[in-house]
């Protein structure tokens, strides 16, 4: 397929940035992040199945600063993609196409994803006994 000479439709750089567009881009970005995150899930399950010698280093990495940063990003990506995915399912069912609704559901998704991420991490640290 020759694409070199043909004019292309305008891409991201010609548009003024706005919340609806940022959320759409984030949906794809978090989806990609989660796809790569499945590698972590596979490594964790395989380590658990193979024995303590394999499981130890994996858990050590998960507990390290970099590991926690990674898992925190993974948690938010998951909740964002899930909340915005529910928004997508509503659109698929024919709901939520009015402009004010777009903005309202968009901000709801952002806030819900942050709140759910914080709840998960407080819960995790509480399980570790971090709060006495």
């Amino acid at each position: 397929m020759t694409t070199g000479e043909r004019p292309l439709s305008p891409h991201l750089q010609v548009y003024r940035w706005q919340i609806t567009m940022v959320l759409s881009i984030l949906h794809r970005a978090t989806g990609l992040a989660l796809a790569f995150g499945t590698l972590l899930l596979a490594r964790w399950l395989l380590a658990l199945a193979s024995g303590p010698e394999a499981y130890g280093p994996v858990q050590m990495w998960n507990a390290s600063f970099l590991g926690r940063l990674f898992l925190f990003g993974w948690t938010w990506s998951l909740f964002y993609h899930m909340c915005n995915g529910i928004r997508h399912l509503a659109w698929d069912s024919g709901f939520g196409f009015e402009i004010p609704t777009f903005y309202r559901t968009g901000w709801t998704v952002v806030i819900a994803s942050v709140v759910l991420t914080l709840i998960a991490w407080f819960w995790g640290y509480a399980s570790l006994g971090a709060f006495g």
Binding site: L32, T38, S127
Partner: protein, 126 residues
């Protein structure tokens, strides 16, 4: 202008790609399944944070946890490869590279999914 498409082509609604509806449905169905599965999975991980090897193994040894984890792996890898396929179709326009990447992603998803299911079953039946 009168449509050049035959009435049969129109009623089948598949367009020039001859497929797509099955992909669309599978993406939605796996998405719906993943909402409760992932809420359970994250809650379970939060509740067992800091568990040692024996405790983590004992947890996955329980039938309900093993079954839910396998369902999560199947729905998750299926949903993931469907999504990656769309991303590749959007950005890779060289036919051989596009097809090769899609095949690679699909094979990797099956291989990793199989490895995960094997790992869960090994723990569950140990």
């Amino acid at each position: 202008m009168k449509s050049l498409r035959t009435p049969e082509a129109r009623v089948r609604g598949l367009g020039s790609a001859h497929q797509g509806l099955a992909h669309w449905w599978a993406q939605r169905i796996t998405a719906v399944a993943l909402v409760p599965l992932l809420l359970w999975f994250v809650a379970h991980l939060c509740a067992t944070t800091g568990a040692d090897y024996a405790a983590a193994r004992a947890s996955l040894h329980q039938p309900i946890n093993a079954i839910l984890t396998i369902l999560l792996v199947v729905a998750g890898f299926h949903h993931g490869q469907l999504g990656l396929q769309v991303v590749i179709e959007d950005y890779v326009h060289t036919e051989w590279a596009k097809i090769s990447l899609i095949i690679l992603v699909k094979l990797l998803a099956v291989a990793l999914g199989a490895a995960c299911i094997f790992a869960v079953l090994k723990v569950a039946f140990s």
